[in-house]
Amino acid sequence: MSGKQGNRASAGAGSAKSKKPPKGKAEETREDVLQAVVLADSFQDRFRPFTLETPRCLLPLANVPVIEYTLEFLAANGVQEVFLYCGAHSSAIENHINESRRWSPDSILSPFSSLEFIRVSDASSIGDFLRDLDKRGLIGGDFILVHGDLVANVELEDALAKHRARREANRDACMTMVLRSAGVKRHRAAEARGITPMFVVDSSTGQCLQYEELHPLSDHYAYLDPAVFKHGDFEVRTDLIDSGIDICTPEVLALWSESFDYELPRKNFLHGVLKDWELNGKLIYTEIVEKGYAARASNLGMYNSMSKDILERWTFPYVPDSNLAFDQTYRRAKGGSYFEADVSIGKGCDITKSAIGNATTVGAGSTIKRSTIGRRCKIGKNVKIEGSYIWDDTEIKDNSVVDCSILASYVTIGNGCRVPKGSLISYGVQIWDGKSLQPEPAPRISLLTDTGSPAETNPSFVGQDGKGAFYQEAVEEDSDEEGGDSAALARLQNSMFYSLDGLNLSSSSISTLASHDSFDSEDEDADGGSFQQDSSRKRLLSFASDDSGNVSKSDAFHGDAVHGLVDALRADDNEDFDSAKLEFMGLRLANNASDSMMRRAIAVAFVRRASELLEPENGGLEPTKAAEVALTSKNGAVKFIKEVGLGSEKTAQQSEFALALQKALLGLKGLEVMRASTLLAALLQQLYHQDVLEEDGILAWWADAKSSESDSLAKIKDKCRVLVEWLENADEEESDDDEEEDSD
């Protein structure tokens, strides 16, 4: 039940200590008992500064700690044995559970036959937990793996039955993920996710074939593993809300143990297992539910979206007036609000779509919309609160305005304050009278710094006698999370945070409150940008999943590819050409482009760039110089042509590429034939020098009838005669330095 916290210094791998020895070996556990593992630590700090003091799973969501929803969901699905993995703040979680009449392991009221806390002292990721769990041998049969921030009302009966049937048919079917589809339209939950999961799913069996994570900062394309195409019909889904509910067989734990470096269940584990499918042979399935609700409060955006969902009853029956927590007394009132028994509301208040906890008083003339307010709060007169989540024991004095923010417990907001959109105000902060917080950057105010030590009060933020300081995230902290892409993820955290704002844009336009001045244009730009990226990504993916093969596809590919490459070539920065290459390959996969289409696109792109350089406004370079700049100014561009444009070093491909260059030049408008011809010669020469084209290739092209089938083609070719003759003469001396005859 309780574990002893091991000394952090004794950091032996998985030195998990539990007072109790594992109470049952795998074989002893009865098959018909449903077990669940709750991961109550996420190893993330997306909810900071709140999670400095409270674990994520105890943060109140619609005035109920999130873990209550999770446990209730497990109880509703008949789970009997629960293993609760606590990491950070484990004693707080244990206290919460032990003090709860409903969940305490000693309570006769608990719907679970057992609930066991498991502490792993030196775990630094979910992977460490699960590897530890594997060692303990507590799990006998299928179990449900959930996170401690889950809210769901789906019935698992079906998914469990299907999982069992699959496992009986094939021992390798080891996991079923429960995913909620969010439709193709813009959806607040889909936007709030921050990371867009991409599931490639076999249409008929639901088998998950590939998993990728996309986010606004990532590349705007995704690769499909060629192996995917062997499966017949498949779907590429980016519209799924990952509830994190996994129905697992014990083999899943073994898989975790095999890969000691996996940290995250999706990004590492799922991705890795699917990628190494040929090695491990394990099959993972998806259960995509179209009814019911399932989502994780995995970031602030989701917290916001889910709070709304709960108030709007999408999570039914897990809604405030079901009073799931023991001492709750919510009743529904007019205006779609929920009040507990002892709430006092002043005259002339307008309270809609909100939940207000016990012993809270609201002064006269206040407006509260789409918000949750905890217990024992004091809301003054003429206060405006919209789209905000205010936890217990907080005081907001007269005439203040709180807009789309989270106010933790024991916060005091003085008279006439203004809390702008997206503020996060942590425990115990006091904002002094008349202080308007700066809307940009969205305030995060805490009494603690990111290391947990008391922060020095900054009067410019909180007013002269206030308490609290601007909370800043140390970027290094990120490095051990989410795989370490720290800079990008720090920005992503931000953008998730902005998406909290973005979400509210639409709803506040409905409302009558005229407090729109709190978001500035930069913010909107950032959002707009990511939406565009979003839509282009969706378009891309829809191409990928569209197997109807329409004619315009090759055009689309050519246009996009050429455009992308030219852009990359034009770019001033010193970036490597690799990203352009990746994008190109993504396009290629998405459009199923043939080799010759690629070759054509590459030729056109380079020719276009070179010809641009000829123009006066771009420097009016000489053809020779232009060819050189176009080909060599970018690191890796030449390599790119060699690897992608040619593929192998066969003469036929080289000749074809040269032909493509020639035709591309012909296609260019506004370039006189003579100059075009010179440019072609220069390009070919440059490519020859860069060891891209070999003399055999150039000579083959020269001899090819196609290269002179029309007058204009012949004319363009003309200037290359010198090069060709020189090549022919130099044949003997210039025996190739680094030619490797590829046997293909």
């Binding site: 209730e72 699905n77 959806h187 607040r188 009853r313 009073n323």
Partner: protein
């Protein structure tokens, strides 16, 4: 592995199976959460409450009647608070409280009461009130569809409050021997009697559907067009019973068809039985009920509860159908077991409309709709008394005028005001 078909989700059946083995508090709490999670709802509530109260009587520690009453009251109020949208729970609580009071008073007063009942009635239900407000005499039947046979039956059964019409076979007399045993002064005997009484209420609840169905051929005539809105199990049973004797047409209405379910697959049992009996079934899914009304002869609803003033709690949408029926002066028949009669004024509750899940109307997938609409999906609504012509109970068809006397027969004055008591 054998139990691969096992279902894990907790259900009422599982709870009932485990009742004997587990602690009373555990059972109560389990039911409370089944109610809160809506894993027990509607018609299941009555029998669930009875089973739990039976456990309370059997297992709770009480030494005198007052303690027993308190135990039942507190359990009942917890259940009511868990599911304030299910008035039937409160009804059952009141019935059981009344039962206990009766038993207790009988014990106290020895057996100087009830003799005349015993003399002529086959079964003396233990719940017979101490001062039965007997209202003999034929009931005045106003509705045109009310046959005299049934009314006679009903009025006769007035004397015999918990028992059922003479024609009914399901009711067994064995369970309730006359209770006025002089030696029953100790709690042990009281416990037994109360348990017997609760079991009889269970019987009543279980047989109500069939008993109501027995009156089907009285209301449904050959060649009738009968409109039902979201038929409840009671209504289905009623129609099936009628189909054995009459040839008529059923119109089943609802506002929308459940997605993904072919029309043929809806109400499978009803469809199968009606078709077998040669009754035509028409499925309507539109708001345009008005258009069908001229053709319809009567409208039948199943009630979740009937209040003191004659208003009924019905599935949401019924009110529109009832309004349409009133426009064309078509009779509206409400089916309700006596145990659903709720001795409360409707004004005590702000709204009986229980809110459900907005996904009935809009799928959560539809992101724009989720953001832009406010959806209030009421699962039940209050049908005012003026829309209802006949109430068909297990005691026979009744008019509004007699609801009060039925309630007075079934609930004791002490329990009538229990709403205040519960803080509901």
């Amino acid at each position: 592995m054998a139990p691969s078909q096992a279902t894990y989700a907790p259900t009422l059946a599982k709870l009932l199976k485990s009742l004997n083995g587990q602690d009373l508090e555990t059972s109560i709490e389990s039911l409370i959460f089944l109610l809160k999670r809506r894993q027990v709802k509607g018609d299941q509530c009555a029998s669930a409450t009875l089973h739990i109260l039976l456990q309370v009587v059997a297992k709770a520690k009480w030494r005198n009647v007052d303690q027993l009453l308190d135990a039942v009251k507190s359990t009942g109020s917890r259940l009511v608070q868990a599911a304030p949208h299910e008035p039937v729970i409160g009804n059952i609580e009141r019935r059981v409280l009344g039962l206990i009071r009766d038993e207790a008073s009988e014990d106290r007063n020895a057996d100087d009461f009830g003799i005349e009942s015993v003399s002529d009635i086959q079964s003396l239900a233990p719940a017979t009130p101490a001062v039965p407000p007997l209202r003999p005499g034929p009931t005045v039947i106003r509705a045109q569809t009310m046959p005299t046979v049934a009314s006679l039956q009903a009025s006769k059964s007035m004397f015999n409050l918990l028992s059922v019409g003479d024609t009914l076979d399901a009711y067994s007399t064995g369970a309730s021997t006359p209770v006025s045993q002089p030696q029953a002064a100790n709690t042990h005997a009281l416990k037994d009697e109360v348990i017997n009484g609760i079991e009889e209420i269970m019987d009543e609840v279980n047989t109500t559907g069939d008993q109501i169905a027995n009156f089907a051929d009285v209301h449904i005539y050959p060649e009738d067009y009968v409109l039902v809105f979201l038929p409840s199990p009671d209504v289905e049973r009623y129609l099936i019973k009628a189909a054995t004797k009459r040839k008529f047409t059923v119109l089943i209405a609802s506002f929308d068809l459940p997605k993904g379910v072919p029309i043929d697959a809806q109400y499978p049992v009803l469809r199968k039985k009606l078709t077998a009996a040669g009754v035509k079934m028409i499925r309507l899914a539109s708001n345009g009920l008005m258009a069908y009304m001229p053709r319809v002869n009567k409208v039948i609803f199943g009630a979740k509860a009937v209040f003191q003033n004659g208003g009924a709690l019905v599935d949401s949408g019924c009110c529109i159908a009832a309004r349409a029926a009133q426009e064309y002066s078509k009779p509206v028949i409400v089916l309700s077991g006596v145990y659903k009669f709720c001795p409360r004024d409707t004004s005590t509750q702000v709204s009986w409309a229980e809110l459900g899940d907005p996904s009935t109307y809009i799928n959560y997938e539809d992101g724009t709709a989720v953001d832009s609409f406010e959806i209030e999906d009421t699962t039940a609504e209050y049908l005012p008394p003026e829309f209802i012509d006949v109430y068909v109970t297990n005691l026979g068809p009744q008019t509004r005028d007699h609801l009060g006397s039925i309630m007075a027969d079934h609930y004791k004055p002490e329990e009538m005001g229990i709403a205040l008591h519960l803080g509901a």
